[in-house]
C-alpha cells in the first residue's frame, strides 16, 4: 500500500513534467508569431526594418521567458519535488 502510493506520486510527477513541456510548444508559437509578424512588416517597409531588430530580439526574449518558466516547472517536478 505504502509502495503503491510512492509509485503513484512518481507517476504523477512524470505526467506533470510532461504536461509542463507543453508550455515549450506554446512559447514556440509565441516566438514564431513575433518573428513572423516582424518579417511581414519588414517586407512591407524594408528600410525601417534594420532599426527594429533590437525590438525584435526583446520581443522574442519576453515571449521565450514564459516558455522558460514551463521548462523550470518541468525541471522542478523532475528533480526537486
Amino acid at each position: 500500500m505504502e509502495g503503491d502510493l510512492i509509485v503513484l506520486a512518481d507517476t504523477g510527477k512524470y505526467i506533470g513534467a510532461g504536461l509542463a513541456a507543453i508550455g515549450s510548444g506554446a512559447a514556440a508559437i509565441g516566438v514564431g508569431n513575433v518573428a513572423g509578424n516582424f518579417l511581414a512588416g519588414a517586407l512591407r517597409n524594408p528600410s525601417a526594418a534594420g532599426a527594429q531588430t533590437a525590438t525584435l530580439f526583446i520581443g522574442i526574449a519576453f515571449a521565450e521567458a514564459l516558455g522558460i518558466f514551463a521548462f523550470l516547472v518541468a525541471l522542478l517536478l523532475m528533480f526537486a519535488v
Binding site: 532599426a51 533590437a54 530580439f57 521567458a65 522558460i68 523550470l72
Partner: protein, 235 residues
C-alpha cells in the same frame, strides 16, 4: 549527462570553494581569450585594421551602438559593464561548444550571479538617480485609475521575476542545446540511423553556434532594457 558535472582539475577530492575545477579552467580560458582578442587586437592601432583588430572593433562598436540605441545617451556611462557581460557570455558559450569542453554558462549558479548582479545594480541605480520616484515604474500613470493597483501588482511581480528569467534563459538554452546533441550522439551508435544522426548533429551544432551568439546578445540587450527602465522610470 557527464559533460555538466563539476570535477576537480587535480585528483578526486571533494569540491570546496577554493578547489580549481573544470569550471574554473573554462572561465579562465574565456577571460584569457577575451584579453588576447582585445589587448593583442588593438595593440597595433593600425589605420587599416588587421583581422583581429577589426573583430575587436566590430564587437566594441556593435555593443556601443546597442547600448546607445536601447538605453539612451545617458546609458552609455554603463557601457563597460554591458560590454564585459557580453564578451564573457559569448566566449563562455562558444568555448563550451568545443567537443569535450565544459560550458560554464550552462550552470544556473553562474548565470544567476550575473543576472542578480544586473538586477541589484539596476535597482540601486534607479533609487540613486530618482529616489523614491523610481517606484513610478510600478505606477503606470497613463492607465485608468481603477486598473492602476492591479497593474502595479503585476508590474511588481514581473520586476522580481526578471533575474529568474534572465538567468534561466541563458542556462536553459545552453543546457538544452548540449543535451540535444548528446541525445543524437547516442543515436549515432545504432547503425541503421547513424548517417541521419550524424547529419542531425552537424545541423544542430550549427544552430547551437547561432544560439550561443544570440543568447549573449539577448542577455546584453535585456540588461540595456532594464537599465533604461532604471534611468527613465516613468513610462
Amino acid at each position: 549527462m557527464d559533460q555538466f558535472l563539476i570535477k576537480p582539475l587535480f585528483g578526486d577530492g571533494p569540491v570546496n570553494w577554493w578547489t580549481p575545477t573544470n569550471a574554473t579552467l573554462w572561465m579562465a580560458l574565456a577571460i584569457a581569450c577575451i584579453a588576447a582578442l582585445l589587448v593583442l587586437g588593438t595593440r597595433g592601432r593600425a589605420v587599416i585594421p588587421t583581422r583581429m583588430q577589426s573583430i575587436a572593433e566590430l564587437a566594441y562598436g556593435f555593443i556601443y551602438k546597442m547600448v546607445e540605441d536601447v538605453a539612451g545617451k545617458d546609458g552609455v556611462k554603463y557601457f563597460p559593464y554591458i560590454m564585459t557581460l557580453f564578451m564573457f557570455i559569448i566566449f563562455a558559450n562558444v568555448l563550451g561548444l568545443i567537443p569535450m569542453a565544459f560550458t560554464t554558462t550552462s550552470h544556473i549558479a553562474v548565470t544567476a550571479v550575473m543576472a542578480l548582479a544586473v538586477f541589484f545594480s539596476v535597482t540601486i541605480i534607479g533609487f540613486y538617480k530618482h529616489g523614491l520616484g523610481f517606484l513610478n515604474i510600478f505606477w503606470i500613470a497613463q492607465a485608468p485609475l481603477i486598473l492602476r493597483p492591479i497593474l502595479a501588482f503585476i508590474e511588481v511581480i514581473s520586476y522580481f521575476v526578471r533575474p529568474v528569467s534572465h538567468s534561466i534563459r541563458l542556462a536553459g538554452n545552453m543546457m538544452a542545446g548540449h543535451a540535444v546533441i548528446k541525445v543524437f550522439a547516442a543515436f549515432a551508435a545504432l547503425l541503421a540511423i547513424a548517417p541521419f544522426s550524424i547529419l542531425a548533429i552537424t545541423a544542430i551544432y550549427a544552430l547551437e553556434l547561432l544560439v550561443a551568439v544570440i543568447q549573449a546578445y539577448v542577455f546584453a540587450i535585456l540588461t540595456c532594457v532594464y537599465l533604461k527602465d532604471a534611468l527613465h522610470p516613468s513610462h
